[in-house]
């Protein structure tokens, strides 16, 4: 089975702090990590290979330093890594990003299943996964929390919904996006770490793919950022301290009218 996992390098938001004076993000010293949801996607790819055989190729679109994220994926079991990177891709919104990744996956060729995290923690759009599926004209199953079985050209999986889950059957090849509940990612192995150091990372530029240049980067992106601003910070709250009963009384009397309406 040829498995492709799409991943993204994102800033580690656990390290992001707010400057209380300016109310802006303090970005200095913030490290890059693999998007938390993609960690589950990589693990699921490796598990599918362990169950059904095949190879796991991790693909990322990003700046040259995104190579680090790909190497990290190799430490936990990915076989091959592709870095889709080109100045022509800068400024891509979700439509252009989905297109570029779809073209890269087409170039990889003969893929049976594409796995994405349900969304990236920096953009939170959840649009690129379905975007890739649509550009490649593949069926999709989003919010997958369990892959039951894959056989005879079909996969059966559980898809998380607001009320519970659905058991969905899809024809292969297909694209899925996964949620955190699907597995518990393993830690890097020593063998994986050794391999990651020297593993070749395949670079793919616009010229290496059969792309329509008008669909890349800014030119290929319908959405434009027209304004950026810092939201007003929340006014400082009222904190009650002291005896529990008195605190509870204060809170109840403050809130009771609010809760009635």
């Amino acid at each position: 089975m040829k498995i492709v996992v799409c991943m993204k390098q994102v800033p580690d938001t656990t390290q992001v702090k707010i400057d209380p004076q300016t109310n802006t993000l303090v970005r200095e010293g913030v490290q890059s990590i693999i998007n938390p949801f993609d960690v589950y996607a990589i693990e699921e790819g490796v598990r599918l290979r362990e169950r059904f055989g095949g190879t796991v190729t991790v693909v990322t679109m990003g700046p040259p330093q995104a190579e680090n994220a790909l190497r990290e994926a190799i430490t936990v079991g990915a076989d091959e890594a592709v870095l889709v990177s080109d100045r022509a891709f800068a400024g891509s919104d979700t439509l252009a990003t989905g297109y570029i990744l779809a073209m890269a996956i087409k170039k990889i060729g003969d893929v049976d299943i594409i796995i994405c995290g349900k969304q990236a923690s920096d953009g939170d759009t959840a649009q690129v996964g379905p975007g890739i599926a649509t550009q490649l004209d593949l069926p999709q199953v989003t919010y997958v929390n369990k892959i039951e079985d894959i056989k005879d050209g079909h996969a059966v999986m559980h898809r998380m919904t607001e009320e519970g889950y659905e058991i969905v059957q899809t024809s292969m090849p297909c694209l899925i996006t996964v949620v955190k509940e699907i597995n518990e990612p393993r830690l890097p192995s020593l063998k994986g770490k050794m391999k990651a150091k020297s593993a070749p990372i395949k670079a793919m530029k616009a010229i290496d793919m059969d792309v329509d240049e008008s669909r890349l980067g800014l030119t290929g992106s319908p959405t434009w950022v027209s304004k950026i601003f810092t939201p007003p910070s929340r006014p400082k709250g009222e904190i009650f301290e002291g005896e529990a009963d008195a605190c509870a009384d204060k809170l109840v009397s403050t809130l009771k009218d609010h809760l009635k309406g």
């Binding site: 938001t13 802006t24 993000l25 938390p36 700046p63 040259p64 100045r87 400024g91 979700t94 439509l95 920096d122 759009t125 649009q127 996964g129 379905p130 975007g131 599926a133 649509t134 069926p139 999709q140 199953v141 989003t142 919010y143 059966v156 998380m160 919904t161 607001e162 009320e163 889950y165 659905e166 058991i167 969905v168 024809s171 509940e181 008008s214 800014l218 992106s221 319908p222 959405t223 434009w224 950022v225 027209s226 950026i228 601003f229 810092t230 929340r234 006014p235 709250g237 009222e238 904190i239 301290e241 529990a244 009963d245 605190c247 509870a248 009384d249 009397s253 009771k256 609010h258 009635k260």
Partner: protein, 398 residues
């Protein structure tokens, strides 16, 4: 390169270097310099420069016959014939946008045996309700829903299309926008009409929160956006309103799919969808064990709310994942969010900080949760929460 510093205009004020989310701008010889390896052409600096010294060049494609796109549309998500509550909120905002543009508000519903929905949607502000009824559309299937919706949108050409940022909505419109080759903005927290040019101004948190971006799709139609539960106020019901109901018939080939639903399982623990709850009582590591969540459930019951959880409590196996609030869980914005024994790491805060009123109960007066709280109690939650339950019960006559 698509971006350029106009050296003559740059005053060396350094504002752009602070605004850049990617640290791609530095100063050299009192002028801004762009590191093109870091720059993603996001445009944040262009907007920040008061001296118009940064230029972003675009040669964008354009939806053909763009001016023929008219009207505001809302996707009428339904389950088992019941319109989902986020649709009421979208109709409220949609009506406002349609009135500003001087156009009609329409709602499109896909499903089976759903004729009964139309009247309700008209009472909530829709001028037109488009209904596509077919047995194949009874439950949401990505492909069939996409093909049908794309077909209807191509036929009627709305200029604005809004959809709930639900599991269904996010899966569906992501596909639809690609098929229509148009822009889609996820999780908008504000929508308005640009007074000069009439564009839909779509505002959402960007770069992991804490910064807001207003996004436009100037040259593509429809301008598509998703909105989470509870962000906008629900439309007010007006039973005297009238409107048109249009039954759309679609070609059978649009109803085929390569996926099919084998079974739908509803889990008892998830009967209250926290994304739809007006009041959420959430517990974290400070709850110490799964058995202690009972006191949160009691408080939630008195307040008519649902129980949420931090990631720590889910990872410890105390609560199911469907209750998790935060970056890897759900983003919620209830009227009241009560955080009990939650320290308030940034991953949790991004999932709940847009709640209307935030209340924190924590032993540690320095816990970061107090920085976002409107009201807080420093104390032992095992003492405070039962007291609150008792006192609210009395105060609210419940």
């Amino acid at each position: 390169m698509g971006i350029e510093i106009i050296k003559d205009k740059c005053t060396g004020c350094t504002i752009c270097t602070k605004v850049c989310p990617f640290c791609a701008l530095t100063m050299a010889d009192k002028k801004a310099v762009i590191d093109f390896d870091k720059c993603t052409l996001c445009g944040a600096c262009v907007d920040s420069c008061k001296f118009h010294a940064i230029e972003l060049k675009r040669e964008n494609s354009r939806t053909p016959n763009l001016e023929q796109y008219k009207g505001v549309w809302v996707f009428g998500e339904q389950k088992k014939g019941k319109i989902q509550s986020v649709v009421f909120e979208l109709l409220g905002k949609g009506r406002e946008l349609a009135d500003k543009r001087g156009v009609e508000l329409s709602c499109v519903v896909l499903g089976h045996n759903i004729q009964g929905c139309a009247e309700e949607l008209i009472h909530l502000g829709a001028d037109n309700v488009y209904i596509v009824d077919a047995s194949e559309l009874e439950n949401f299937i990505d492909e069939a829903y996409t093909k049908v919706l794309v077909n209807v949108i191509r036929k009627y050409r709305p200029e604005i299309f809004l959809c709930g940022a639900t599991v269904l909505g996010r899966s569906l419109v992501s596909r639809v926008a690609v098929k229509l080759h148009t822009g889609l903005t996820a999780d908008c927290t504000a929508l308005d009409i640009d007074p000069k040019e009439g564009f839909l101004m779509q505002t959402r948190p960007a770069f992991g929160g804490n910064i807001m971006a207003t996004i436009l799709s100037k040259n593509h139609r429809p301008q598509m956006a998703t909105v989470r539960h509870k962000v906008f106020k629900a439309a007010v019901v007006n039973k005297s309103r009238t409107g048109k109901v249009i039954k759309e018939t679609v070609d059978r080939t649009l109803l085929t799919s390569r996926t099919k639903i084998l079974d739908i399982v509803e889990e008892v623990t998830a009967t209250v969808n926290i994304a739809e709850a007006d009041i959420i009582v959430s517990g974290g590591r400070g709850m110490k064990g799964p058995e202690n969540f009972a006191i949160l459930e009691e408080l939630a019951q008195v307040l008519g709310g649902a129980v949420g959880s931090s990631r720590a409590a889910v990872d410890s196996g105390w609560m199911p994942y469907s209750h998790q609030v935060g970056q890897t869980g759900k983003t919620v914005c209830p009227k009241v969010y009560i955080a009990c024994g939650i320290s308030g790491q940034i991953q949790h805060l991004v999932g709940m900080q847009s709640s209307e009123t935030i209340i924190a109960i924590n032993k540690d007066p320095d816990a970061p949760i107090f920085t976002v709280a409107d009201f807080g109690i420093v104390g032992d939650l095992f003492e405070v929460v039962p007291l609150l339950t008792k006192k609210f019960k009395a105060a609210l006559n419940r």
